[in-house]
Structures are given as structure tokens and as C-alpha cells.
């Protein structure tokens, strides 16, 4: 039955008009609940021992005072005000100060069964009177009753207690107090004494789980009458700034995009991306096997970001701050000076320190605190690695989404385990990744060489080349692209190939020259032959002309002789015919 009710509560998506909310001021919780706890109503915060119930209540009060100007009352049944004040002093909550300034009323109500004899009828009017007094003394708007169930151990007449609790909740509601009641979780029930049956407006369940020896706190809004709320389990963290819940933002694709470009820090890489680098606010994934230079590429980007005077957050899971700065310095990247200027914030912690949600939550918090222009996570694979949670991937997606939503340029480094995995580990976030740079080793002729490849880069015409790069004492340097016979040559093989190519080119050049010479010779020879022929012809022509002249002379002599003969013999008949033949001969010569 309860399940059914919960299901209904969860699916209701309409916010009733007039349902006012009191923001808790707890990071992330207001986002999940759509603005806070129901104002003027009572919310039950339940969970097992040590899950942070009291903290939720306390922070609700403290933030109420600090941020929303709503004084509060804390009725503690288990801890004395001194204990509580001490406990939260480390979080920067100055309870004593609030009490002095009459913003907070702390009342301790110890319930010790051994001290109390019951004889006959009674009620808890004393509790009401004290609560009323406390509320009046500070003009409270918020009330926290820390483990009201302690009453059950002190009073044996549960019928009276239940009636009184019912009256208490009604009483709080009548006075329009926004209340938080913490309750111990029971076997199979939300609270040990079934308090949720009295308070049905809002129930928040806290949970503290150990998985692989790493504890994760989770929060779930079991029920929130009259409003839609996130129904998932949300990891939360209690640290020196209080509670933060990791809100799993809706994955809507309405990020504002920027056309601005930011330098990668490696000039050659900029060139591969239209000479301008990454888009501001985009997500960049750099994946590669061990020792391919991911961190160095990250350092370059960090330096480039800081050089522009922008803040950069570097989250490292592998190297301590000092070690990373030393290593960066060894390749000519000076990060330390930017730390001094407050532009670079390097945070390092062990990947095993928290569960994956905690890592992401910590990053979330850091981002909120530092408000960086760019963030580098080195490496995200450490978050994924070894985790058996099914929702780890979606968590990562949410982180990327969160950063995009904030317009933060995010560079995520990812360690891949081998070529088989090269594109598997990242596939679940690749859809959110705008620029994906692959770093890989190429093993060839007894050496490993590093190569870089822009697998994808949305919105820009990027280079399609696999580029060899070397890490010098002045950082990453890309070598000129070299492709031969459908294969990439790197390292010494590349040098050999280059020498070989040069020799071949020389040989080709020599062949050409040789052929040209040959051709020239041929041409000369031909011309000589032409000249000879011409000379020969001319000689022959002259001889022929001579012969012709001689023949003509003979002929004319003959004709003369004939004419003379004719004239001497008076014969005229064949005269004209002979004249014609002579003309034709003349034209031929």
C-alpha cells in the first residue's frame, strides 16, 4: 500500500498552486525538490545511524538563518547543545553565535527512561510549552526535532505518545512552521515507529552504503506531496562546507554554445584545428594508453588557460600537486607561478578515497567554489575503473553535461588499457564529447613512438592526420606529417624512410637529367644530319643546275644550229612545237 502511495506521489508532476517551498540552502537538495521543503509543513528525514540526518536538519537551520533570514529552533533529544555545537564547528557553523544573536534556539531534551516513573495519565504538554517558548524567543520559522523517536524509549505508554506526536505535527502545521523531524530507519519501514504515517507531506530517506570498502551516502526523496521531484537516489557528501547533494540534472540539450576558440597550448595542435584550437565551453576527451603524454597535453592546456588570465581547475587522481608541477617543469611548462597568481587550482586525491559519486560530487563542489573557465580531470578513467555500479557511466555523462551547462571548457583525460579498449571506455560519453584527441603508441622497429590524432572535433574542419609528436624540454612538439606507402613511419624508421626517399628522389632526378641530355644530343645529331643533307642537296642542286645549264646551252646551240639549218634549208613547219617544250623545261629548273 505504501509502495503504491509512493508511486503516486512520485509520478505527480503538477505543482499545486500555492504550494510554497522553503529553500534548504543545502547544495543540490533544492534542485531535486524543486525549491526546497514544503513551507509550513513537516518533513521527515529518516535513515540509519550515522547517515547524516542531524546534519541535514542542522544545515537546514543554519542556511535558513544565514541565507534566508529565517530564525530556527532545534530541539535535540540525543545530543546536548554543547556536543552539537562542537560537532558542527568544524563545518564553520557557529551555533553559539546564532544563539547569542537570538537567531537560533537550542534546547536539549534528554529522555532517560531510568529517571522516570509513570503513574497514571499524562501528556507531553511540557514539550509543547518548551517548543512554543523556543519558537517565540527567536521568532522561529524553522524547527528541527532531532530524533523525536527518542521519546519512545523514555515513555512506555505508546498510545499517549502517538496521540501526542500526531498533535505535535498538527501543532507545527497550525503555526506555519517548516519543520524537519529526523527519525531512525526501521526494519522494512521508513521509520522505526512509523512516523511517516503522521507526516505525509515530504519524506526524505538517507542511506549510507559500503561498497568495496568505500562508503557512499545517498539521499532519496521518497515522497513529496503535491510537487514533482527527482525520484532517483542522489549521492551526497558531508565535508567541511556541509552537505552537498549531487543533483542529477536533466539531460536537456540546450547549452549555450560559444564560437570563441581557445588555444590548446600546443601551437602545432592549434594548426590541426583550423589554427585556433578548441571551442570555449566544449568538452575535450584525450584518451590514450599509459605514457602517451595525456598529462603533458593537459598541462599545456592549463598553462594556455592561465596565460589568458583565466582560472583553471586541475583535478588529478594520479600525481600529487608537487609531483605534477615538477614533471610539468621538466617539459618546460611552468605551472607553479600560476598557482601563486591564483589562476591554477590543482586538487589531487586518491581515486580509492571515495566512491565514484563522491569523486564527481567533489568535482562539482570544486567547480562551484573555484568557478573555473576550464577544468582538466586527470584521468576520468580512474573514476570508472573497477567500479561495478551500473550508473557510473550516466554519472559521468552528468558531469560532462553539468560542465557544458556552465560553459566550462572541460578536458577529460582518459587512460585506456590497450588498443582493444581504445574506443570502448569512452563510448558512453563520446556523444557528449565535442573534441576527441587520441594519443597512441606506435610500436615499430624496436621503439615506441607517440602519435596524436584528432578523432573528432565538432564544428570545425580539423586535420585528419595521424601526427607523430615528441615531448621535448619545451613541451610537446608535433613533427611534420609524414605518410609513405599507406603507412605511418615514426621514429628512426621515419628517418630511414626519409633517407630512402631522398635517395630515390635523387635517382629520379638524375634519370631525368640523363634523359634530357640524351634528348639534347639526339636533337643536335638530327640537326647536324639535316644540315649535312641540306648541304648535300645544295651541292647536288648546283651540279644539277650546272648540268641543266649545260644541257640548255647544248639545246640552244642545237636549236640555233637547227634554225640556222632551217634558215639555210628554208624549212619552217616544226618551229612553234619546239618552243613550247623549251618553256616547260625552264619552269622545272
Amino acid at each position: 500500500m505504501r509502495q503504491l502511495r509512493n508511486a503516486n506521489g512520485r509520478t505527480s508532476s503538477v505543482v499545486l498552486p500555492g504550494l510554497e517551498k522553503a529553500p534548504t540552502g543545502i547544495q543540490g537538495l533544492d534542485e531535486i525538490t524543486g525549491g526546497g521543503l514544503p513551507r509550513g509543513r513537516t518533513t521527515i528525514v529518516c535513515g540509519g545511524p550515522g547517515c547524516g540526518k542531524t546534519m541535514v536538519g542542522l544545515e537546514f537551520l543554519v542556511r535558513g538563518i544565514e541565507e534566508y533570514g529565517e530564525p530556527g529552533v532545534l530541539l535535540a533529544f540525543e545530543e546536548t547543545p554543547q556536543e552539537m555545537t562542537r560537532n558542527v564547528a568544524s563545518l564553520g557553523f557557529d551555533l553559539e553565535g546564532f544563539v547569542r544573536r537570538k537567531k537560533l534556539s537550542l534546547d536539549f531534551l534528554p529522555v532517560e527512561p531510568s529517571e522516570i516513573q509513570e503513574t497514571g495519565d499524562y501528556d507531553l504538554e511540557g514539550l509543547f510549552i518548551r517548543l512554543q517558548h523556543a519558537v517565540d524567543s527567536v521568532g522561529a520559522k524553522r524547527v528541527v526535532l532531532d530524533t523525536v523517536e527518542a521519546l519512545f524509549s523514555g515513555f512506555s505508554n505508546t498510545a499517549v505518545l502517538r496521540a501526542e506526536l500526531r498533535r505535535l505535527f498538527r501543532w507545527l502545521k497550525e503555526r506555519n512552521l517548516t519543520a524537519v523531524i529526523t527519525a531512525e530507519q526501521g526494519e522494512g519501514t521508513l521509520t522505526r515507529y512509523g512516523l511517516e504515517e503522521y507526516v505525509s507531506d515530504c519524506v526524505i530517506l538517507l542511506d549510507h552504503r559500503i561498497h568495496d570498502q568505500i562508503s557512499t551516502r545517498r539521499l532519496r526523496v521518497v515522497k513529496y506531496r503535491g510537487t514533482s521531484h527527482g525520484a532517483d537516489e542522489y549521492p551526497f557528501l558531508i565535508d567541511d562546507t556541509g552537505i552537498s547533494v549531487l543533483p542529477l540534472t536533466s539531460l536537456t540539450l540546450n547549452h549555450k554554445v560559444s564560437a570563441e576558440r581557445v588555444a590548446t597550448g600546443v601551437a602545432d595542435l592549434d594548426v590541426m584545428m583550423q589554427g585556433k584550437g578548441y571551442y570555449r565551453g566544449s568538452s575535450i576527451l584525450v584518451s590514450g594508453t599509459a605514457g602517451t603524454g595525456k598529462t603533458t597535453l593537459g598541462c599545456h592546456f592549463a598553462e594556455a588557460t592561465c596565460r589568458r588570465g583565466e582560472r583553471c581547475l586541475y583535478v588529478g587522481f594520479e600525481e600529487s600537486t608537487d609531483q605534477m608541477f615538477r614533471n610539468a617543469a621538466s617539459v618546460g611548462i611552468d605551472l607553479k607561478s600560476y598557482v601563486k597568481k591564483g589562476l591554477l587550482i590543482h586538487e589531487a586525491w586518491r581515486p580509492t578515497q571515495y566512491g565514484v559519486e563522491m569523486h564527481l560530487l567533489k568535482i562539482h563542489k570544486l567547480v562551484e567554489r573555484v568557478r573555473p573557465h576550464a577544468i582538466i580531470v586527470d584521468p576520468i578513467s580512474n573514476l570508472i575503473g573497477g567500479s561495478t555500479h551500473r550508473d557510473v557511466r550516466s554519472m559521468l555523462v552528468r558531469l560532462v553535461d553539468f560542465l557544458k551547462g556552465k560553459g566550462i571548457t572541460a578536458m577529460l583525460l582518459s587512460l585506456t588499457r590497450g588498443l582493444d579498449h581504445l574506443e570502448i571506455t569512452e563510448e558512453h560519453i563520446s556523444s557528449l564529447i565535442d573534441t576527441w584527441i587520441l594519443l597512441r603508441d606506435i610500436e615499430q622497429s624496436g621503439e615506441r613512438n607517440r602519435c596524436l590524432y584528432v578523432l573528432k572535433s565538432r564544428g570545425m574542419a580539423h586535420s585528419n592526420q595521424l601526427r607523430e609528436f615528441v615531448i621535448t624540454d619545451r613541451g610537446i612538439r608535433l613533427l611534420a606529417p609524414y605518410l609513405g606507402a599507406g603507412q605511418v613511419f615514426t621514429g628512426s624508421a621515419r628517418l630511414v624512410q626519409e633517407a630512402k626517399d631522398a635517395a630515390e628522389a635523387l635517382a629520379r632526378k638524375q634519370t631525368i637529367e640523363h634523359k634530357q641530355n640524351e634528348l639534347r644530343a639526339k636533337r643536335q645529331e638530327l640537326q647536324e644530319r639535316i644540315q649535312n643533307l641540306r648541304a648535300e642537296y645544295q651541292a647536288e642542286e648546283k651540279a644539277m643546275e650546272l648540268l641543266i645549264q649545260q644541257a640548255e646551252k647544248v639545246e640552244s646551240r642545237f636549236e640555233q644550229d637547227t634554225e640556222e639549218m632551217v634558215s639555210s634549208r628554208r624549212a619552217t613547219a616544226r618551229g612553234p612545237e619546239r618552243q613550247n617544250r623549251r618553256h616547260a623545261n625552264g619552269a622545272q629548273s
Partner: protein, 114 residues
């Protein structure tokens, strides 16, 4: 602890019991408690008691001192240690146990005859 209780018992005859009854207004429970208390004291303590009635409706700030939650609550302030009895005090025996009072001979006789 035990020896102290004994000494308390020894002193009891001379010492005056200081009792404080916390009530909240003139409710039937409060009135019943006060009536029952007076009866019990008259029967078992003769003049060796002093009763102070605190109405928390009029003096809410006084609830904190004796850590009062239930109403009515009877607090034995003297002798120490402080003892608390809640309810309308309708069960005489439990009140006596609660106040750590040994019934007087006459009281005992009364109880036996009853």
C-alpha cells in the same frame, strides 16, 4: 550508591522533602495530580514535605531546568538525587517507590488493612 540511599533513608525522618509539581494550566490531569500528591504526602510524610506547583503556561522558561516534557511531572528536588514521576499520581505505590519513601508504620498498616 547504596550507602547513600541508606543515609538518605536515615535522614528522611528529619529532612523535609522538597517537591515540585509541574502542571500546565488547570487541566483535569493537573488537578488530579495535585490532589493525589497532597493525599499521599499527608498520609506518608506528615509535615516533612513542601510542595511547589509550577504552572508552565505562566512560566514556560522553567521547563528547561528540570527537563520537563510530560505533564504533569512531579520532581523530588531534595533530597538528591532528583527523581521524576510523571502522570496524575493515581498509583500511590508507584509514587512512593518513585519518591523513594519507605511507607511509615501507620501507612504500612493502612495498606495492609486495605
Amino acid at each position: 550508591m547504596k550507602s547513600k540511599a541508606n543515609s538518605n533513608a536515615a535522614k528522611q525522618k528529619r529532612d523535609v522533602l522538597e517537591l515540585r509539581l509541574y502542571v500546565a494550566g488547570q487541566t483535569p490531569k493537573s488537578l488530579a495530580a495535585l490532589a493525589n500528591l497532597k493525599r499521599i504526602c499527608d498520609e506518608h510524610l506528615k509535615d516533612q514535605y513542601r510542595i511547589e506547583v509550577v504552572d508552565l503556561v505562566k512560566h514556560p522558561q522553567l521547563a528547561q531546568g528540570d527537563q520537563i516534557l510530560a505533564i504533569p511531572t512531579l520532581v523530588r528536588r531534595v533530597p538528591k538525587p532528583t527523581r521524576k514521576i510523571i502522570g496524575d499520581l493515581s498509583n500511590t505505590e508507584r509514587v512512593l517507590v518513585g519518591l523513594d519513601i519507605r511507607p511509615t508504620a501507620s501507612g504500612m498498616a493502612d495498606a495492609e488493612s486495605a
